[in-house]
């Protein structure tokens, strides 16, 4: 599944024994089509995005027509103009990633360690964890909107109990957006955690106990460091898509006017207002922050070879 993307282990492999002269030609034949494709439809678009982000209105006054420029100030403009949305994106992503980790770790621990002796339960629970992937992401998000809609029994109950004020609702609040984001990306956190916890040697935990470590100390000193690679890949796999998401925060789904994220601005600027430079500058900004984050993680965890 997707979590293999930031996986650990795997990789490497046996060298082949094909004649060395033939090697490079065959390799080139195998690589070129795919690499040209990625060059054309991944690299070039990113460059195109950077160029567009520096464009200026061409003065014709026609909506959506821009001229080449080198308006580095576009970036300053988008940061000041869209600071709330930028902070929502990274703030929500941070909170939702932590929430997903807190929900997923015990779950993955149970499936990967405690359920080991019961392969049937393990298989069933794992299938249920990936089950959300099989039903449209948009339908799931919309289901939460209906479950917590203003007239729903759930909201009535929360109002009666006093958790919500009599005129407070859930849909449209940052809480609801973060709730939806957390929900949608839990499997991306649980799967890499599971794949590393599944291989955790429980004898090491027993050794910790034998040496008079409390369960908490054993967890902190043994389990946590051993499962760190899973935490790292899970965190990246959740944080990146959440920071760029705009479905949960959209007014038609769980968000409202005050919850817009970077993605919402990019969508409306690009597809509705034809304001390509602003949309592009925000995209480049988002990409830059993500790359910094990935680079930092790669350095910290020492896995230069992320793939």
């Amino acid at each position: 599944m997707a979590f293999a993307a930031f996986g650990h282990g795997g990789g490497g492999g046996a060298a082949n024994t094909t004649a060395p002269t033939k090697k490079s030609k065959v390799a080139l034949f195998l690589l070129l089509p795919g690499l040209i494709y990625l060059g054309l439809f991944f690299m070039t678009p990113l460059i195109s995005l950077i160029i567009t982000s520096l464009e200026v209105p061409d003065g014709s006054g026609v909506m959506g027509s821009y001229a080449y420029g080198f308006a580095i100030e576009n970036y300053g403009k988008v940061v000041t103009q869209f600071w709330p949305q930028i902070s929502h994106s990274f703030g929500y992503a941070l909170i939702a990633t932590i929430a997903a980790l807190l929900i997923s770790y015990p779950l993955a621990y149970f499936i990967g360690v405690k359920a080991r002796r019961f392969p049937l339960i393990q298989g069933l629970m794992l299938t249920l964890v990936i089950a959300p992937f099989f039903i449209s992401f948009l339908l799931r998000t919309f289901a939460w909107k209906q479950i917590f809609s203003n007239e729903s029994p759930a909201v009535h109950f929360l109002q009666q109990v006093g958790i919500l004020g009599p005129h407070d609702y859930l849909v449209g609040t940052p809480f609801m957006v973060i709730f939806g984001l957390t929900y949608n990306f839990i499997p991306f956190m649980t799967l890499p955690l599971y794949s590393i916890l599944e291989r955790l040697d429980v004898r090491l935990l027993e050794a910790g106990a034998d040496l008079y470590a409390t369960p908490a100390t054993t967890f902190r000193k043994v389990t946590l460091p051993l499962t760190a690679p899973g935490i790292i890949s899970g965190t990246l796999l959740t944080f990146i898509p959440i920071a760029g998401d705009y479905v949960n925060a959209s007014g038609d789904f769980l968000g409202g006017t005050k919850t817009a994220m970077i993605g919402n601005v990019v969508e409306s600027r690009f597809l509705v207002l034809n304001d390509y430079p602003t949309a592009s500058a925000l995209s480049v900004l988002l990409m830059g922050v993500i790359l910094l984050l990935v680079g930092f993680y790669a350095k910290r965890s020492g896995t230069e070879d992320l793939l």
Partner: protein
């Protein structure tokens, strides 16, 4: 977190609650596919099979679904072919630009979808290309390819080169070695890569939204409909796809465990 009492009862209970939480929207979508709804599907109005039987009566649902399947199949075939070739090259050959190629494969997976979508859209715009099914397929092949490479790569790496050597020793041509030995052995990896690729393509909304123009896909249909309320027929399509996917997963798992049992008996 792992106090003795916790490990015994709290952890299983907690896990069950977490799983139930994951299931709630799925169950909701499924239940409301049987709702005898009028225009919107907000309030429960009674049980009916009508929406399942007359799915296509709701304007646009089946067309969008058909488009999604077609886009999914074409993108999967292309992405799986290109990705498998790269995966074989990455494991089997040493070349100078290896780390660069790895990085190029990795980057699309680390890029937020909104950036991939906007980037491609801005390129199509500057090229003057009309957006439609074609541009959606181009976009899907791009982001599915990396996932194929990663999935197939693991399989290539676990392949025993001695098997291919044996083939060459028996005077098989390189093409024969590939099609009779390598390819069948890689098949499970290629198959799971293709399934993953189809799932990613089928459920993609963000990249599609930027590059679809007037073309409709199922996720885009749901997104557009959300403004006025999603019709029950969309729940039917979502639920049907869900049941089919679960059936496939269970079949694959059962077959796998049966095979493992058979192999164990042979030993």
């Amino acid at each position: 977190m792992r106090r003795f009492s916790l490990g015994k009862y709290a952890l299983p209970v907690y896990s069950v609650i977490a799983i139930v939480y994951l299931m709630i929207p799925i169950a909701y979508t499924f239940v409301f596919s049987f709702n005898d709804s009028l225009k919107t599907n907000l309030i429960w109005r009674g049980f009916t099979f009508d929406k399942w039987i007359n799915v296509c009566k709701q304007q646009g649902v089946c067309e969008a679904f058909g488009n999604s399947v077609m886009i999914g199949v074409i993108s999967t075939v292309l992405a799986t072919t290109l990705g498998t070739m790269i995966a074989i090259a990455l494991v089997r050959y040493r070349f100078k630009a290896r780390s660069f190629v790895s990085l190029l494969i990795f980057l699309p997976m680390a890029t937020p979808e909104v950036v991939l979508g906007a980037g491609l859209a801005s390129q199509f715009f500057s090229m003057g290309a009309a957006k439609g099914i074609g541009t959606i397929i181009i976009a899907h092949v791009m982001f599915c390819m990396s996932f194929v490479v990663v999935t197939v790569k693991a399989r290539v790496a676990s392949l025993d080169p001695a098997l291919e050597e044996a083939g060459r020793d028996l005077y098989a041509s390189p093409a024969q070695v590939f099609w009779k030995i390598t390819f069948p052995l890689l098949m499970p990896g290629i198959l799971s890569a293709a399934l993953l690729s189809f799932a990613l393509s089928f459920d993609d909304f963000i990249i599609t939204n930027f590059n679809s123009g007037p073309a409709m896909t199922f996720p885009k249909y749901v997104y557009t409909a959300a403004a006025r309320g999603i019709p029950a027929e969309a729940n039917v399509v979502g639920s049907a796809v869900f049941l089919l996917a679960i059936a496939i997963v269970v079949t694959v798992q059962v077959r796998g465990s049966l095979k493992a049992k058979r192999l164990a008996r042979q030993k």
